[in-house]
């Protein structure tokens, strides 16, 4: 550190001490429980925590606790709540003004957080040299400026009522520190520095990740001093480690039978239901699937409530829409497809396939032929559709799915922002191979509706537009909803505050033991 850097740091520390006596008091109070450690399961090899190119939920969980956004999601309700921005206002959903919290301290002595950090973070995502996959989230920004250190004004090219999701504590919305990024060089994904409740103390990519609480966190230090994440890939082993007392909290448990065992043994079953839906992507460039009656027939033919009840009553529930029921804009009256094999046969006959057809389903071989697929094959065969599985390994699957080389595939896109789902799946600009619209869906009426909904400032009109969009999408059915997924984080009974949000993330500041 240069001498000017050091004196800046001292000044910042001095200022923090003088300005916030409260912080000092709360730190010493928390000192009583100084050495609390929570052992948490981490289920895969960590892939790094740089918000610009982070991927996969387990890594996002670390970043969620290290970084902050201007806004964040309430763990219990999923509602948008203030984070680094104390308050905000907007004009016509186009000009957004954020008033930043004062006295927020960066981890590892990087001083006070200011508006310049916000501008730097967004510009970094927008810089092509960063090669961030999340660049498209911010390209709607026309200008951004910081009239003073505690105010950020962002002007959008087009009105966007969901902009508070864009600046939330997730991916592109996570605020980084320029000096820390530059100091880390090409190892930036392993040296995250944020303003969140925990900082990364050490990492052994083969076995563990250790987070320590950030004492200067603006809401006060977290109750638990150390979060010790142990990499345990196998679900059965993870369950045994919890039963053995080696682990306090399992990040995810995806085996139904293990959940049953843990439940019976009296462990606490922290969970969030319906966090995201798995959709069957119908490729509309296929000559058979381009007929809407065929797609509706598929939806009528499969009894998902029966399937989920039979195979995974804890982990899955039937899904009836591309949107999730907990979303504010969810439309209850959009068309639903309850199990009705007669109707399916009738639609197939009308479409000119009285004897059915062969449906090729591309999927990953990671789990082999799943029980769900066996059920689907059986249900579809009862209306004459022969479902043929094409199982390939995950990278191949991802590649073919992104290129649109399939008849049907599946996708699960976790999102709290309804626009994320609507635009990714249904907007013609996002048709694969460019984006996630693997169905190649392009309905001008729907496109106009979702664009209008995003721009609309009047709450009532906005709800109407979203309802209309869902009605069109569920009538055209480019995506057939199959199952809604539940996320479980079983723990010892003394672990409290494990609130899993709808992005399957836990804010460890709320967790105690």
């Amino acid at each position: 550190m240069t001498s000017s850097g050091r004196s800046r740091l001292y000044a910042a520390l001095l200022a923090a001490t003088l300005l916030s006596p409260g912080a000092v008091v709360s730190a010493s109070v928390a000192g009583a429980a100084e050495d609390k450690t929570l052992d948490v399961r981490f289920y895969d090899d960590p892939a790094g925590f740089d918000p610009a190119n982070i991927f996969r939920i387990e890594n996002e969980n670390i970043a969620f606790n290290v970084f902050s956004g201007l806004t964040t999601y309430d763990g219990k309700t999923g509602a948008i709540v203030p984070d680094l921005a104390e308050s905000w206002e907007n004009k016509d959903n186009t000009t957004w003004t954020f008033h930043l919290r004062k006295g927020v301290q960066w981890q590892k002595g990087y001083g006070e957080f200011t508006a310049a950090d916000v501008l730097y973070s967004y510009k970094r995502i927008l810089d092509p040299a960063t090669a961030s996959p999340y660049i498209a989230e911010l390209t709607g920004i026309e200008t951004m400026e910081a009239p003073d250190p505690y105010t950020v004004v962002i002007k959008l090219k087009q009105p966007n009522g969901g902009f508070l999701h864009t600046v939330a504590n997730y991916h592109q919305g996570q605020i980084v520190k320029k000096e820390a990024i530059e100091a880390a060089g090409d190892q930036v994904r392993w040296q995250p520095v944020g303003t969140g409740p925990y900082y990364l103390e050490s990492i052994d990519v083969n076995s563990r990740i250790v987070l320590k609480r950030h004492k200067g966190y603006y809401k006060g230090p977290a109750p638990i001093e150390t979060l010790d994440f142990h990499i345990i890939k196998d679900d059965a082993t993870a369950a045994i480690a919890l039963r053995n007392g080696e682990i306090d909290l399992l990040m995810r448990q995806n085996k139904e039978e293990q959940l049953q065992i843990l439940k019976d043994a009296g462990f606490k079953m922290n969970h969030v239901d319906n966090y995201a839906a798995t959709l069957k992507v119908m490729n509309l460039s296929d000559p058979i699937l381009k007929d809407v009656r065929v797609r509706q027939a598929i939806a009528y033919a499969i009894d998902y409530p029966a399937i989920t009840a039979a195979i995974a009553p804890s982990l899955q529930a039937p899904a009836y829409s591309i949107m999730m029921p907990w979303m504010e804009v969810f439309a209850k009256d959009a068309p639903r497809y309850e199990y009705d094999p007669e109707k399916a046969k009738q639609l197939l006959t009308e479409a000119g396939y009285p004897d059915g057809f062969t449906l090729k389903a591309l999927n990953t071989s990671a789990q082999g032929v799943t029980e769900q697929q066996q059920f689907e094959i059986d249900y579809l065969s009862q209306v004459g559709i022969k479902m043929e599985l094409e199982l390939v390994d995950t990278p191949t699957y991802n590649q073919r799915r992104n290129k649109g080389e399939f008849m049907t595939a599946t996708r699960l896109l976790p999102a709290i922002n309804p626009d994320m789902i609507l635009f990714s799946y249904l907007h013609p600009d996002n048709r694969s191979p460019k984006g996630l619209n693997g169905a190649q869906y392009d309905n001008p009426e729907l496109t106009a509706t979702i664009e209008a909904a995003r721009a609309e400032a009047d709450p009532e009109k906005r709800m109407e537009l979203y309802a209309k969009a869902q009605t069109i999408a569920m009538t055209d059915l480019p995506y057939v909803p199959s199952t809604a997924n539940n996320v479980y984080w079983p723990s010892k009974t003394n672990v409290t505050g494990v609130n899993i949000n709808y992005l399957a993330q836990v804010n460890f500041w709320e967790v105690d033991e």
């Binding site: 991927f55 996959p133 990499i231 059965a236």
Partner: protein
């Protein structure tokens, strides 16, 4: 001996170069690349293309190949493709774990299967089929049990019910006592399968020499059965046994994948599977070079050991 060593070295060089080239091109012929491996559900094709070009994955294949050879020549194994971690560090960190498991397994296997196989051969030779059949039968059952299943059963019994061994926890070569506790179950599981093969080979080879003239001669000199069996029969039956041990050591190094996964041991099997699944070209290439080197070294060592047992072997 010197000429022999030089010859073996030249052989090593061409083997490694061949392996490197083969792996380089086959890895790239498999559909999917490192970027499509991380794609998951929420990254678009456009976003992935951007990452691809930043990582130099869109350069012509031949240029990438020459580049790679250049780095290899200076022993620069590079970083993992997506996570930018130095590969050599990852491998050196993981190697002790896998080697400990492999060595432990070989030791346990040899301790169990050689006496067992010899005993089976001896009783078979004497015409007592019962013990022979029992040993061969048990060995076969052990051999046929899949290791992912025996692993879970061992975890349930020894870890959960009896509480003798932990199911998870950090593994470090700096703490040998803890390392032993962590690798005990994997070693047990792997040995079960190895015992079958080695006991069978031992039985066959010993049985074969038991009818040789020199064994009869030894016996006629009045030596005890045990001395005849272990000093004369077993020593002369050793060559095929040593060969199998050498081979199974090599196989163990990459056969630890499943137990490493289930017992959460950060070994090189884990690295290889992770590297394949994430299409981390650099990682897979480097690991294969390591494997090739290890195999060549084991073959070399096996050849040297031959001489100990059979002075007639010339180099």
């Amino acid at each position: 001996m010197l000429v022999y060593s030089l010859k073996r070295f030249a052989q090593l060089f061409t083997t490694v170069l061949g392996v490197v080239t083969l792996v380089f091109f086959t890895m790239r012929m498999i559909p999917g690349d490192p970027i499509s491996a991380i794609a998951g559900d929420n990254l678009s094709g456009e976003a992935l293309d951007r990452m691809r070009s930043q990582m130099g994955l869109d350069a012509p294949l031949f240029v990438q190949y020459l580049n790679y050879l250049g780095h290899l020549a200076t022993f620069d194994f590079g970083n993992t493709v997506t996570t930018k971690l130095p590969i050599i560090g990852l491998i050196l960190g993981a190697l002790p774990v896998t080697v400990s498991i492999a060595v432990g397994t070989i030791v346990l296997t040899v301790l169990i299967s050689i006496p067992l196989g010899t005993l089976a051969a001896f009783t078979a030779h004497k015409g007592h089929r019962m013990l022979d059949n029992a040993i061969t039968g048990v060995a076969m059952v052990l051999d046929l049990m899949p290791s992912f299943w025996t692993s879970l059963v061992c975890l349930l019994i020894f870890s959960l019910t009896l509480g003798w061994f932990p199911a998870s926890g950090t593994v470090s070569i700096d703490d040998p006592a803890h390392l032993l506790r962590r690798i005990a179950l994997p070693v047990l599981v792997l040995s079960m399968a190895q015992v079958a093969t080695l006991a069978r080979i031992t039985r066959t080879s010993v049985l074969e020499v038991l009818s040789e003239d020199y064994v009869r001669t030894a016996r006629s000199m009045g030596w005890s059965e045990l001395r005849v069996l272990f000093r004369h029969a077993l020593k002369n039956a050793a060559l095929p046994i040593v060969t199998v041990i050498g081979l199974s050591f090599g196989n163990l190094l990459n056969g630890t994948v499943i137990v490493e996964f289930i017992f959460t041991l950060p070994g090189i099997g884990n690295l290889l599977v992770g590297g394949m699944n994430s299409r981390d070209y650099q990682m897979v290439q480097t690991l294969i070079v390591f494997y090739a080197l290890i195999f060549v070294a084991i073959n070399f060592a096996t050849d040297l050991i031959y001489r100990v047992f059979d002075p007639r072997v010339q180099f």
